[in-house]
């Protein structure tokens, strides 16, 4: 992969990948790992979407301060997803509301969907990865 702009096999079927993020950004490695998988996977030109639900909505929260826990604040990287042509970001409405958050509190533009709508979308995926 690395530095090649490989585009052979462009006629191969594009699969729909959905990454479901359910955990708070710090305390476990899930959020960062999911983000890295998404960035790496972007090179494969598939149809990728991200869902943020439960405490996963905190991953997109503006104004994260990580000095106190001695970890890198990787939240600015969500704003680079656009450069990687990953533009389908969904946030579950119920999770957002339960935490007193609105789309204005988030780092990137997202589509807010109810859990019923999300489950329909999930049903349409070829691959569903939960973090």
């Amino acid at each position: 992969m690395s530095d090649t702009q490989a585009n052979e096999g462009g006629d191969r079927k594009v699969k729909r990948f959905m990454f479901v993020n359910r955990k708070a950004p710090y305390g476990t490695i899930y959020a960062l790992e999911a983000l890295e998988v998404v960035l790496i996977g972007a090179a494969f030109d598939q149809d990728v979407s991200l869902v943020f639900a439960d405490d996963g909505v905190y991953q997109l929260k503006k104004g994260q301060q990580t000095k106190g826990i001695g970890q890198k604040n990787f939240s600015p990287t969500y704003r680079a997803l656009e450069d990687y042509d990953i533009e389908k970001l969904y946030v579950e409405r119920e999770s957002l509301q339960a935490r007193g958050l609105s789309p204005d509190d988030l780092l990137v533009p997202v589509r807010v969907l109810g859990s019923a709508e999300l489950s329909v979308l999930m049903d349409e995926q070829d691959v569903l990865l939960s973090f």
Partner: protein
């Protein structure tokens, strides 16, 4: 045991692939020394890319993959620079990997 790049007045630690262990060790001498070790003299064109990468990292906390770098350079510096040929001529070992190393960034995410 980590490797090191020897500058005139100090040594800076690098990992097994030659990327800085502590990103804060970087200054222009680090880039020049790394390039000299690859027999490359950095020109303004090299610096343009290196500085772009440092700004990108400061903004997004991620070293961009080559595809992203090429597109972003094209947007900022024009299409004559935002293409693989131009970037590979400057950084024959792979523009993202090599330029990120000189820029003191981690290996780009998306380079497997």
């Amino acid at each position: 045991m980590t490797a090191a790049v020897a500058l005139q007045d100090r040594e800076v630690a690098v990992d097994e692939e030659g990327y800085l262990v502590n990103l804060s060790d970087w200054n222009e001498d680090v880039a020049k020394t790394m390039a000299a070790d690859d027999s490359i003299a950095l020109t303004d064109n090299h610096w343009e890319v290196i500085n772009f990468l440092r700004e990108y990292y400061a903004e997004y906390q991620v070293a961009p993959a080559i595809r992203v770098l090429t597109k972003a350079i094209g947007k900022k510096l024009g299409p004559e620079k935002g293409n693989s040929k131009y970037l590979y001529e400057l950084f024959p070992y792979g523009p993202a990997k090599q330029a990120c190393r000189y820029a003191g960034l981690p290996k780009p995410t998306g380079c497997i």
